[in-house]
Symmetry: C2
Subunit: 321 residues, 2 copies
């Protein structure tokens, strides 16, 4: 739940004066997203999402995120389209924060994910990788393998307070990943955070993708591995091979995986689990007093990481090798 | 910020099947309100507010609140109108909670309140009192003077941790209020919580009132005294006599105050400040670990109460005696 910056009617009216959206009618804070402040904005032109970018998002990255949504929407991908003001800018300032208005996307994110939805996400992720081609800006993945050891070190002394033995487990896994991390795989623009709450469905049909604020340039198959982590485990941490197969094979229908991507998949899935284990662990250990956001359980990704550590082939995920 | 109960697409679809609102298109949690879970609901029929009533609201009171909004909307007051399902019911169950869909009201609540807005609120409060006539259901004010001493007693031992001397101050004020509380004043349906975040404006025009979940039967002038507390003080706790005059005199244009209401006004304002001081103090001292709602500062009402304690006439509020 997140509204960190309050916006007054006066400030909003001044901001909207630069847009061709008519008069403001209402603004309601949305209890979604943890990085930024999101509002539902109603103007005489319709409904929009107004985002105020908070400190966790680097201002220098905003042209990448905004430009990427414009690029993908122009290619026909269903994602929020940043609305330009009369000067042609989609990024402005409101209440002291960088701010953008994007189109409102219908759909609900699935609370209980089924195999059909996993198939649709696999396909959508492949289409995103294809549609990202030709996007001019670059953004390295700030949460890739080089970031993991510093994250671990910031949490190591207190990791065992979350679960005895966790520090040693991460230390060992990190060593393995650093020695075995796949390099030179096909790469391009990836979403990097395609969790269920970022994928909308209308009935059975995938209606759109949101929240591109972790998007970056990295290996395509690593993005798929993030999706498999986020969608294909059951609440008891058991891997659902039907969901895995549905997701990976539907990805391949749109963008076939190369041999080296297939070989690398278990290591990529292991790394993806490490990335979320570490960021969740750091957040868990650093909840500020009076926090408005509940931290997510890091141990969910400890359990997923253990599964990946014993996988030896993409077949262990239900897919054809 | 408040979304306590999550709603899945499946549950929502089943709930909406009883309504003539078409298919669901989206549902977004709203970061407003502290008592209930509120969602913005988009269906093929338009935009609505979906409220799930949480444990702080007594289920037995819901027919009063829902019926009152229907009654007031039918009289032409701009407030959310509960939407009936095909069986004629405006109250159902969703995700294990009582739930209602109400119409979406445009407007922004004013972050910085001016005298014109205070005038509009005074008028709207009088119209609400007039429009409430003939509403068949009754609900005693659960937070009137009889409730104050038990609230105080539950907080007394820790009150001085908020400010030294606070317990003795409240004890003395409570004694005065119990000895001098005005009785037998004209009464009827009051809103009882008409704070700025419950009053919407479009430009300078008041566009609607929301959040009737403290509404009850009590003295009309007490409701006006709550409004004066909520709207007519500056952030430094000084009373703004221009705002007070604007609010009270505009109330009287619609519903003239009787002599006994005028005489009682300082005591009513003093009691209203006590009510909010006490409930805020109890909330402040009982923030659950991991709370998603920031408690409001009780000392704001300590300072307001001190002002009222030295007022001797409605003239001290800018109004004509």
């Amino acid at each position: 739940m997140a509204v960190y910056t309050d916006v007054s009617g006066e400030d909003l009216a001044a901001f909207l004066a630069d847009y061709d959206l008519g008069a403001m009618l209402s603004l309601k804070g949305i209890a979604e997203g943890v990085e930024n402040s999101n509002y539902l904005l109603h103007t005489e032109s319709g409904y929009f999402i107004l985002t105020l970018y908070e400190k966790r998002v680097a201002e220098a990255d905003l042209p990448f995120f905004i430009g990427l949504m414009q690029h993908l929407a122009a290619r026909g991908l269903n994602c929020p389209l940043p609305v330009k003001n009369r000067l042609g800018d989609a990024l402005g300032r409101l209440a002291g924060r960088p701010a953008a208005i994007v189109t409102y996307l219908d759909g609900m994110w699935p609370r209980r994910q089924n195999a059909k939805q996993c198939a649709a996400v696999g396909e959508a992720d492949a289409l995103l990788h294809i549609d990202g081609e030709g996007f001019a800006l670059k953004r390295p993945n700030a949460l890739s393998i080089e970031a993991w050891r510093p994250l671990y070190e910031s949490a190591a002394s207190r990791a065992d307070s979350v679960q005895p033995g966790l520090a040693a487990f991460i230390e060992k896994e990190l060593g393995w990943l650093e020695a075995n991390w796949p390099r030179g795989l096909p790469e391009g623009v990836i979403h990097a955070d395609l969790f269920p709450d970022n994928v909308f469905f209308l009935g059975e049909k995938l209606s759109g993708l949101i929240d591109f604020y972790f998007a970056c340039n990295d290996a395509f198959a690593y993005d798929l591995a993030i999706c498999v982590n986020a969608w294909c485990f059951e609440p008891d941490a058991s891997f659902n091979i039907t969901k895995g197969r549905a997701m990976i094979e539907n990805y391949r229908r749109r963008r076939p995986l190369k041999a080296e991507e297939i070989d690398a998949f278990p290591a990529l899935a292991r790394g993806a689990a490490m990335r979320f284990l570490l960021t969740r662990l750091v957040d868990w250990l650093n909840v500020p007093p009076g926090a408005l956001v509940k931290p997510k359980d890091p141990l969910e990704y400890f359990r997923k990481l253990r599964f990946h550590a014993q996988a030896s082939s993409i077949r262990d995920y239900g897919a054809d090798a």
